[in-house]
């Protein structure tokens, strides 16, 4: 059983990949349903899909293993 992921760990992963981002993340049900908002100038001019892909890339394998459900909201400012 993969070790449960805590919201702060997800925030840390995103900040490692996107140091200038502002991240709000919380667990909204059980221990694998997360809600995350990421605001970063790095998203400027990128499609929503590209923005979400950047966050998924930052989360990496954690995304598949322990995060069953991630409701994601991204914006440039």
């Amino acid at each position: 059983m993969t070790e449960a992921i805590r919201p702060e760990m997800l925030e840390k992963l995103v900040l490692e990949a996107m140091p200038d981002a502002k991240v709000k993340v919380r667990c909204y049900s059980g221990d694998d349903h997360f809600e995350m908002e990421v605001i970063s100038p790095a998203f400027e001019g990128k499609s929503r899909i590209a923005q979400h892909k950047m966050v998924y890339a930052a989360l990496g394998d954690n995304m598949r293993a322990a995060v069953h459900a991630l409701a994601l909201k991204t914006s440039a400012s």
Partner: protein, 109 residues
């Protein structure tokens, strides 16, 4: 036998609106898929639905096809729109209505 990606490409390009989901529109098997089905149904448009739970190759293949790690996935006229979050945002800001309008009184041929 064509590869999974070719089969997926055929479905995506062969239908105006396609939803890859867990379960069926009548019986969604996941909250996110259920949300997207409810949104699509609110527009009263015909759409194709692919139950990825029936075939693990499709379930993984669609993630490779769109380079997107989750299900559901919505496609309109061959273009990947996004998953539940993005479809919700597009529904809220009117983008989805604009894109689905052409199909609103067109029965599935």
């Amino acid at each position: 036998m064509s590869t999974v990606l070719e089969q997926i490409d055929g479905v995506v390009k062969g239908n105006d609106v396609v939803l890859f989901m867990k379960g069926t529109p009548q019986m969604p098997q996941c909250g996110f898929s259920q949300q997207v089905v409810a949104i699509l149904n609110s527009y009263g448009i015909p759409y194709a639905a692919v139950n990825v739970l029936l075939d693990p190759a499709i379930r993984q293949g669609i993630k490779d096809y769109a380079d997107w790690p989750t299900i559901p996935q919505l496609y309109i006229q061959g273009e990947f729109m996004g998953g539940c979050d993005i479809v919700n945002e597009m529904h809220a800001n009117g983008e989805l209505e604009t894109m689905l309008k052409p199909f609103q009184n067109k029965e599935n041929a």
